[in-house]
C-alpha cells in the first residue's frame, strides 16, 4: 500500500513493525492504546541488543531519550502535548510517530494557519445536505479533532501558534471538559471524547509573539522543547537516515560519499557558530540551519546530480545546492556566504585538501551566479 503513496504515513510505512511489536507486547497499556509506553519508546528510539528482541527495530527519531519518554508519559496523563522548537528539529515527525504507535492513526491533523477557524477544530456543515435534510449528525462534518475524540485516538494540531487566539481558545474546552457540544442539534448534541483521546500540538519557537498562547491553554499542555541537534554524530545519523529514505522514495541509486556528508555537517556547524556569534539579524543567515535544512540541501544535490549530472554526487554540486538553499535574501545572505566561503572554506581547502577544493570552487561559482 505504501508504494502507491508519495509519502506514506508512519502507521502505514511501519505497519509490519507495529504489528509485530503489538504481538509481543505484554506491558500495561493506558486507555485504548495499541502499545505499552515502553514499546512505543522502543518503536521510536529503536532496539538494543540488551532489549532481547528477536528482530531489530530501527531508530526513527534521533534525539534525547528523555524527550520521548516525557512525551509518551504526557499523553498517558490528562494533558495535551506541545512540542516546541526551531523549524526542522523533527517535532512533526515525532508527533506522527507517537500517534502511529499509540493509535495507528497519525492523519487526524489540523494545520494551524492564519486562516484556520474554529470550524476546523470543532465541526462544520455540509451546506447542501443541511438545505436538503436540515441540521443533523449526517449533515455535520466533524473536524479531525472531533473525529479523534470520538475514536479515542490522538489528534494532531500543527503550528499551533500560527492560528489566531480565538481558534486556540476553542481547544481549551476540548482539553478540559473533553467534549464538544453542538447547539444546533436538539438531541445527540454532545460529542464526548473516548478514553485515549489526546492532542499533540507543535509550535515553532521562531514564531513566538505571533499569536502567543494564553495562560489557560498553556496550563492544559505539557511543553517538551526539542532543541536543534548539535551533536555531530547524531546529526550524521539523522541526515543519513532521512537521505536513504528519500533515495528510496525517488528510486534513485546513488551513493553519498561519507567525506561529502562530513563537509556538509562541518559547513552547517561553522555557519551555526557564526550565527550564534552574530550581533544583528543582518549578520546571520535567515535560515535556521536546522537538520531538516541539511537534508534539504543534500536532497537537492542528489536530485541535481541524478537528473542533470553524471549520477555521482560531487562536492561542486553540493556546494551549489548549499548556496542555492541558504541564500534567501539578497544581498545579506549572499554576503554572509561569500564571507564564509573566503574566510573558512578557502583556508580549509588549502589545509585539509580532499573534496574541499572542489567544494570551494563550486560555492564560488554558485555565489557568482547569484550575485
Amino acid at each position: 500500500m505504501s508504494d502507491d503513496m508519495l509519502r506514506a504515513p508512519a502507521e502505514v510505512k511501519y505497519a509490519e513493525e507495529l504489528d509485530w511489536l503489538e504481538s509481543i507486547d505484554d506491558g500495561p497499556k493506558p486507555f485504548s492504546w495499541r502499545l505499552s509506553p515502553r514499546m512505543i519508546r522502543l518503536f521510536i528510539l529503536g532496539s538494543e541488543r540488551s532489549d532481547g528482541l528477536d528482530r531489530e527495530i530501527s531508530q526513527k527519531w534521533f534525539g534525547d531519550r528523555s524527550f520521548v519518554e516525557r512525551s509518551i508519559v504526557t499523553l498517558a496523563s490528562d494533558r495535551g502535548l506541545l512540542l516546541i522548537g526551531d523549524p526542522g528539529t523533527g517535532k512533526s515527525w515525532l508527533a506522527e510517530l507517537l500517534s502511529a504507535a499509540i493509535c495507528r492513526n497519525s492523519t487526524l491533523v489540523v494545520q494551524g494557519t492564519a486562516g484556520t477557524t474554529e470550524d476546523h477544530i470543532k465541526y462544520s456543515w455540509n451546506v447542501s445536505m443541511v438545505i436538503a435534510k436540515g441540521q443533523s449528525r449526517e449533515s455535520m462534518i466533524p473536524s479531525p479533532i472531533m473525529t479523534a475524540m470520538e475514536g479515542g485516538v490522538i489528534g494532531r494540531f500543527e503550528e499551533l501558534t500560527r492560528s489566531t487566539s480565538d481558534v486556540q481558545d476553542a481547544l481549551i474546552s476540548i482539553l478540559s471538559e473533553k467534549y464538544v457540544s453542538i447547539p444546533e442539534l436538539d438531541d445527540d448534541n454532545i460529542v464526548f471524547a473516548q478514553p485515549g483521546f489526546s492532542i499533540i500540538a507543535t509550535a515553532n519557537s521562531r514564531d513566538r509573539g505571533v499569536n502567543d498562547l494564553s495562560s489557560a491553554l498553556k496550563r492544559r499542555f505539557n511543553f517538551v522543547r526539542i532543541p536543534v541537534v548539535t551533536n555531530k554524530k547524531s546529526e550524521a545519523e539523522i541526515v543519513r537516515f532521512r537521505t536513504e529514505e528519500l533515495l528510496r522514495r525517488h528510486r534513485i541509486e546513488l551513493d553519498v560519499p561519507p567525506t561529502l556528508l562530513d563537509i556538509l555537517l562541518q559547513s552547517f556547524a561553522d555557519l551555526r557558530s557564526a550565527a550564534a556569534s552574530a550581533t544583528s539579524d543582518d549578520e546571520k543567515l535567515e535560515s535556521a540551519l536546522s537538520t531538516a535544512e541539511q537534508i534539504g540541501v543534500l536532497e537537492d544535490a542528489i536530485l541535481h546530480s541524478n537528473f542533470f549530472g553524471d549520477r555521482t554526487l560531487r562536492a561542486q554540486t553540493l556546494a551549489g545546492s548549499l548556496v542555492g538553499s541558504l541564500a534567501r535574501r539578497t544581498p545579506e545572505d549572499l554576503a554572509i556566504l561569500n564571507k564564509y566561503w573566503h574566510g573558512v572554506v578557502e583556508p580549509r581547502s588549502k589545509k585539509d585538501g580532499g573534496e574541499w577544493p572542489e567544494f570551494l570552487e563550486g560555492g564560488r561559482e554558485a555565489i557568482a551566479t547569484l550575485s
Binding site: I24, D25, D26, G27, P37, R38, R41, E48, R49, S50, D51, G52, L53, D64, R65, S66, E69, R70, I72, V73, T74, A76, S77, D78, R79, I84, A203, S205, R208, L213, S215, K218, R219, N222, F223, V224, R225
Partner: protein, 922 residues
C-alpha cells in the same frame, strides 16, 4: 522483552557488551571476565582490609559507618595527599563542604608559568572519607594516616604543559583554578565506554547511571556484597582503561600508597588485622607489583621539590565540586539528600567531629567490635538476582510535588495544585517506564520540567534548577574563625568595631561616620586595602572615595566577605597582615620585567593612599626613575604626566619639600623626553597625544628641572631638531615653538590662515586642529587661539570637508582630549556672546580692528605697590639696566586712595573690623 524484566540483568548485559565492544586487540573477552573475578578475589584475600569507596556515594558512606562500628580499626590509611594531614583536625571548626587546600607561589622545580599552584580536596558530610576521618579523630587510640602522594608530587607527575584556565559561574567557581584531588574517583576512563553504558542503561548522565545501577542496589547491601561489587566495578573500569599518562600516574600512586603503608606498619608495629585501607575502588583492583603487604617490590619515593607549600581550608560548595569533577549539576546535592534519608531510615548514627558547625550533635557509642568471618562469594548472587526495589514512598513524592509547585510559583511560574497532581502522576509514569517502582529524584525532576516548564522561564531559575534547590540545594561551606589563617583572623578582628556579622553570606552594609567615630578610621583604611586586594564584589564602596590628598568624612560599604571567604583565606598564604601582602604585591608589580614608569608611579600612588609609608613610597619612586630612564617608548607619556603631576601636587601640598625621587624624576624625565622628542615627532607609531604629553612634561616640569641643574638649551635644540610631517604634529610643533617664544602668535595665526586659504591643504586642516587641541596640554595659554582656529574652520571649511569630519571630531575629542575640553569650552564661553541677541552685533575678537593705541604713556595708578617701588627704586633700575630698557619714573597722577572711593565708603560705614584689627595689632 525477556531481558527487560530486571534492571540488573541489563547491567550484566551491559558489562558483557562493553567488554565485547571495546576489548579489541590481544585481550579477549573471557580474559577480562575471569580477570574481574580474580581482582575481586585478590583484593578480598589481602591481609590488610581494603575498603573500596566511590566519591560522593552515600552507599560508600553508609557501608563505612557500618564497617567502622563493627571492626573499630586502630589505624586507618586514607587515599589523600599525605601532607594535608595536619589540616584535618581543623575540619571541626568548619561548616561542610569545605576543601582542604595546598597553595604555592614560590615555585622551585616547576615552570614559573604554573604559579600559583593550588590543590584542593573537597570534603562533604555524605562521604565515606569524612566518616573515616571523624571516627579516627574522635576515637581515642585510633591513628589516621594519609598515604597518597604529596601535593608536590601531584605537580611533579603532571604533564609539563600549560594548565587551561576556564571561566566558571559564581558559585561553581569557588575553587578557582585549583587542581582537584578526590578520594575514590570511579568513572569510565574513556568517553566511548561511558557513552556506551549511558546509552544501554537508558540514562542521561553518569550520576544517574551510578545511582540506578550501583548506588540503590548497594545502599542496603551487607558489607561483603558492597566490597565485592565495588571492587568488581573498579576492576572493570581498570581493565578497560587505555594506557596513558593518567594510568601511569594512578599506578605510581598505588606504589606510593603501598610503600607508605608498609613503612608505617613496620615503624608502628601495628597489626594488619587492626588496620583499614580506604581507597577508591579503582585502586582496590590494582595490578602493580607493590600491591599487598607481602610484596617486597621496592619503590623509591622521589623527594619533594624545594617549593614552599602553604596549607589552609577554603569554603567549597556542591556546585563547585560538581563543576570541578565534571559531575551532573545537582548530583552532589542529591547524594547529600539521599545520605540524610538513608541515615534516618536505617537508624544509623554517623560519625561526626566534635564541634562541627551546622550539624546535629550525635553522640556515638561504639558497640563491642565484631570479628569478621570468612569471605563468602556474594557476587554471583548479587549479579544473578534482581535487587529489591524500593517501594513507592508516596508521602515523600507528594511532599516534593507540593514543594516544587510552591517554589515554582515563588519564581514566577503560573503553577497550581493541578500541576502538583500532574507532576505526581507523571513522576510515577516516568519511573514505571524506566523500570523503577520508586521515582528517583531524576524522574521527579523530569516530571516537574514536563508539567511546569512552559515556553519561557519567567524568573532567574528554571524548573530544573528549582528541583535541585528543592532536593537539597547547593550547599556552600564555611571555614570557621579558628581554622582561618592569621591574616584572615586579623581582618575579622580589625573589622569587629563595625559591629557586623561578616561570616554571613548576604551582603552587609557598613556605615562609617569618620568624624563622629574616629575609632573607625583604621577600619576604613583596612577596607580600602581590601578593596584593592580582593575582587570588587567582595568590598564595594557605595559612598566615599580615597584619592590623593582627599579623605571622606562618611563612608558606606557593601561587604560580602562570607561569599568571598576563599579570597581572604588565599591572601593569608601571602603574608601575615594585609599591609604586608599589599606591600609585597606593589613591590612585585614594580619589579616585574614588564613594569613601566607609569606602573611604578601608580604603585607609588597606591602606597601613599593605602599604606601611608613615606619610606616605601620613596623606594617605589626611585624604581620609577630607573624605569623611566630605561624606557625607549613614549606610549605611556600621557599616563606618566598625569600621575607625576598629581603626586607632585600632593607632595607640595602636604610635605615641606618634594621627596628626592620626585626631583630626580623631573630631571631624568626632562633629559629623557628631550632626547626622545625629535624621534617621537617623526615616528609614525607615536601618536600626537603622546608627543603632546612629552611636551607637557617638559614645559610643566621645566622650572623644577632648570632649578635642579638642567639646561633649557637642551629643550630648544630638541624642538629645533624636530621636523614632523604629519599635520597634527606640525601644529603641535608650532604651538611648542610659540610657547618657547620662538614663534610669535601673530605668525602662528597667519600660518593657520594660510592653510585655510590653500585649497590643497584644506582637506587635512582638521588634523591641524587636532594638533592644536592637543597643544593645550603643553601650552594652555593657547586656548584662545585654539578657539579662534576652530571657529575659523567651522566658518570657512567647505561642507564636503567639514561635515564628514564633525562626528570624527567629537569622538576623537572624547577619546583623546577629554580632560582638555573644559578649558576649551570655558575659553569659548568667554569668546562668544552669551545671548542670541548679541550675536548679530558680535564681531570675533580676532577680526576686530585693533584699538588705536592711546597716545602718551599709560597713567600710573597710585597704591601701596607703587609707593613701595618709588620708595626703593634701586632694584627696578638695576633690572631695567640689565634688560637694556630705558625709562623714567613717573609720579602717580592722583593722590593715594583717591581711586578707592568704594573701599573708603565701606570702611567708613563699618569701621568695627578695622578698629578691631588695629586693636589686635597694637
Amino acid at each position: 522483552m525477556t531481558g527487560q524484566t530486571s534492571p540488573f540483568g541489563s547491567l550484566r548485559e551491559q558489562l558483557l557488551e562493553a567488554a565485547a565492544a571495546f576489548a579489541g586487540g590481544p585481550v579477549t573477552l573471557s580474559d577480562i571476565l575471569s580477570g574481574l573475578v580474580d581482582d575481586v578475589d585478590r583484593a578480598l584475600r589481602e591481609e590488610l582490609e581494603i575498603f573500596p569507596v566511590c566519591h560522593h556515594s552515600p552507599a560508600s558512606a553508609l557501608a563505612m559507618v557500618r564497617r567502622l562500628r563493627e571492626k573499630q580499626p586502630k589505624v586507618i590509611y586514607l587515599e589523600l595527599c599525605e601532607d594535608l594531614q595536619p589540616l584535618l583536625t581543623e575540619l571541626r571548626n568548619c561548616r561542610l563542604p569545605v576543601a582542604v587546600q595546598a597553595f604555592a607561589t614560590d615555585l622551585d622545580g616547576f615552570p614559573a608559568s604554573w604559579a600559583p599552584l593550588s590543590v584542593v580536596a573537597p570534603i562533604t558530610e555524605a562521604s565515606a572519607e569524612y566518616q573515616a576521618i571523624s571516627y579516627a579523630l574522635e576515637t581515642p587510640g585510633v591513628e589516621l594516616v594519609l598515604v597518597d602522594r604529596s601535593t608536590d608530587h601531584v605537580f611533579q607527575w603532571a604533564p609539563k604543559e600549560e594548565p587551561q584556565k576556564t571561566h566558571k559561574e559564581e558559585e561553581a567557581g569557588l575553587h578557582g583554578d585549583a587542581v582537584g584531588v578526590e578520594i575514590g574517583d570511579l568513572r569510565p576512563r574513556f568517553a566511548e565506554l561511558e557513552e556506551h553504558l549511558l546509552h544501554h542503561g537508558k540514562v542521561r548522565h553518569w550520576s544517574e547511571w551510578w545511582d540506578q545501577y550501583v548506588e540503590q542496589p548497594l545502599s542496603g547491601a551487607d558489607y561483603d556484597t558492597y566490597r565485592q561489587v565495588m571492587v568488581l566495578i573498579g576492576s572493570l573500569f581498570r581493565r578497560l582503561t587505555p594506557d596513558g599518562d593518567r594510568l601511569t600516574v594512578d599506578e605510581d600512586r598505588e606504589r606510593y600508597m603501598w610503600t607508605r603503608m608498609r613503612e608505617h606498619l613496620a615503624a608502628s608495629g601495628a597489626s594488619p588485622a587492626d588496620c583499614l585501607y580506604v581507597c577508591g575502588a579503582f585502586h582496590a583492583a590494582s595490578h602493580v607489583e607493590q600491591f599487598g603487604l607481602r610484596s617486597t617490590a621496592p619503590y623509591e619515593i622521589t623527594p619533594r621539590t624545594a617549593t614552599t607549600w602553604l596549607y589552609g581550608l577554603i569554603p567549597s560548595s556542591h556546585s563547585a565540586i560538581e563543576a570541578q569533577f565534571g559531575l551532573a549539576s545537582g548530583s552532589v546535592s542529591i547524594a547529600a539528600a539521599t545520605w540524610a534519608k538513608a541515615v534516618t531510615r536505617n537508624k544509623l548514627t554517623p560519625f561526626q567531629l566534635a564541634g562541627q558547625k551546622g550539624a546535629r550533635k550525635r553522640a556515638v557509642k561504639l558497640p563491642a567490635p565484631v570479628s569478621k568471618g570468612e569471605v563468602a562469594d556474594r557476587l554471583t548472587g548479587f549479579l544473578s538476582r534482581p535487587p529489591a526495589l524500593d517501594e513507592l514512598d508516596e508521602a515523600e513524592l507528594l511532599g516534593w510535588c507540593v514543594d516544587i509547585v510552591r517554589l515554582a510559583r515563588r519564581n514566577g511560574y503560573l503553577a497550581s495544585t493541578a500541576d502538583a497532581i500532574a507532576v505526581f502522576e507523571t513522576s510515577i509514569l516516568l519511573a514505571g517506564m524506566r523500570n523503577r517502582a520508586r521515582p528517583t529524584p531524576y524522574d521527579f525532576q523530569d516530571a516537574a520540567v514536563t508539567c511546569i516548564e512552559k515556553d519561557v522561564v519567567p524568573g532567574r531559575r528554571d524548573v530544573r534548577r528549582l528541583c535541585e534547590i528543592l532536593l537539597g540545594g547547593d550547599r556552600v561551606g564555611e571555614v570557621g574563625y579558628d581554622a582561618l589563617p592569621p591574616l584572615a583572623r586579623n581582618v575579622y578582628d580589625r573589622l569587629a568595631p563595625l559591629g557586623l556579622d561578616l561570616e554571613k553570606r548576604t551582603i552587609q552594609r557598613a556605615l562609617l561616620d569618620l568624624n563622629a567615630s574616629p575609632e573607625l578610621v583604621p577600619c576604613s583604611d583596612l577596607l580600602w586595602m581590601l578593596r584593592y586586594l580582593l575582587p570588587h564584589d567582595a568590598v564595594r564602596p557605595i559612598m566615599g572615595e580615597r584619592r590623593l590628598g582627599e579623605r571622606s568624612i562618611q563612608e558606606s560599604w557593601d561587604l560580602a566577605f562570607g561569599k568571598h571567604q576563599r579570597f581572604i583565606i588565599e591572601l593569608g598564604y601571602e603574608g601575615v597582615t594585609i599591609e604586608q601582602v599589599l606591600e609585597q604585591r606593589l613591590r612585585r608589580k614594580v619589579w616585574d620585567h614588564k613594569a613601566t614608569a607609569a606602573v611604578a608611579l601608580a604603585a607609588v600612588e597606591d602606597a601613599v593612599l593605602f599604606l601611608g609609608s613615606r619610606r616605601f613610597a620613596d623606594e617605589l619612586g626611585a624604581r620609577a626613575v630607573e624605569l623611566l630612564a630605561a624606557e625607549r617608548s613614549v606610549d605611556d607619556a600621557p599616563e606618566v604626566l598625569r600621575r607625576i603631576r598629581r603626586l607632585m601636587a600632593y607632595y607640595r601640598a602636604s610635605e615641606p619639600e618634594l621627596p628626592g625621587w620626585c626631583e630626580e624624576f623631573a630631571t631624568a624625565g626632562y633629559a629623557h623626553y628631550c632626547t626622545l622628542l625629535p624621534t617621537a615627532f617623526v615616528d609614525d607609531d607615536t601618536g600626537v597625544r603622546q608627543v603632546a604629553a612629552m611636551l607637557g612634561f617638559l614645559f610643566s616640569m621645566e622650572s623644577l628641572a632648570l632649578a635642579l641643574g638642567c639646561d633649557r638649551a637642551q629643550l630648544e635644540l630638541a624642538v629645533q631638531q624636530s621636523h614632523p610631517e604629519a599635520p597634527a604634529k606640525v601644529a603641535l610643533l608650532w604651538a611648542a615653538r610659540n610657547q618657547l617664544g620662538l614663534l610669535p602668535l601673530a605668525e602662528l595665526r597667519s600660518r593657520s590662515d594660510e592653510l585655510l586659504a590653500n585649497p590643497l591643504v584644506v582637506p587635512s586642516f582638521p588634523q591641524y586642529i587636532m594638533g592644536f587641541v592637543q597643544a593645550l596640554e603643553p601650552a594652555p595659554s593657547l586656548s584662545g587661539f585654539v578657539v579662534e582656529v576652530i571657529s575659523k574652520a567651522f566658518g570657512r571649511l567647505p561642507d564636503s570637508v567639514l561635515l564628514p569630519w564633525l562626528p570624527k571630531l567629537i569622538t576623537t575629542l572624547r577619546d583623546q582630549a577629554g580632560e582638555l575640553m573644559p578649558a576649551l569650552v570655558r575659553e569659548a564661553g568667554r569668546t562668544f556672546p552669551g545671548g542670541l541677541a548679541a550675536l548679530d552685533a558680535w564681531t570675533p575678537p580676532w577680526s576686530a580692528r585693533p584699538k588705536p593705541v592711546a597716545s602718551g604713556p599709560a597713567p600710573v595708578a597710585a597704591g601701596p605697590v607703587n609707593e613701595l617701588l618709588m620708595g626703593h627704586p634701586a632694584a627696578c633700575d638695576a633690572v631695567a639696566e640689565l634688560l637694556g630698557c630705558a625709562g623714567e619714573w613717573r609720579v602717580p597722577e592722583t593722590a593715594a586712595g583717591a581711586d578707592h572711593r568704594e573701599v573708603t565708603a565701606l570702611l567708613a560705614e563699618h569701621p568695627e573690623p578695622a578698629l578691631a584689627v588695629a586693636g589686635l595689632l597694637i
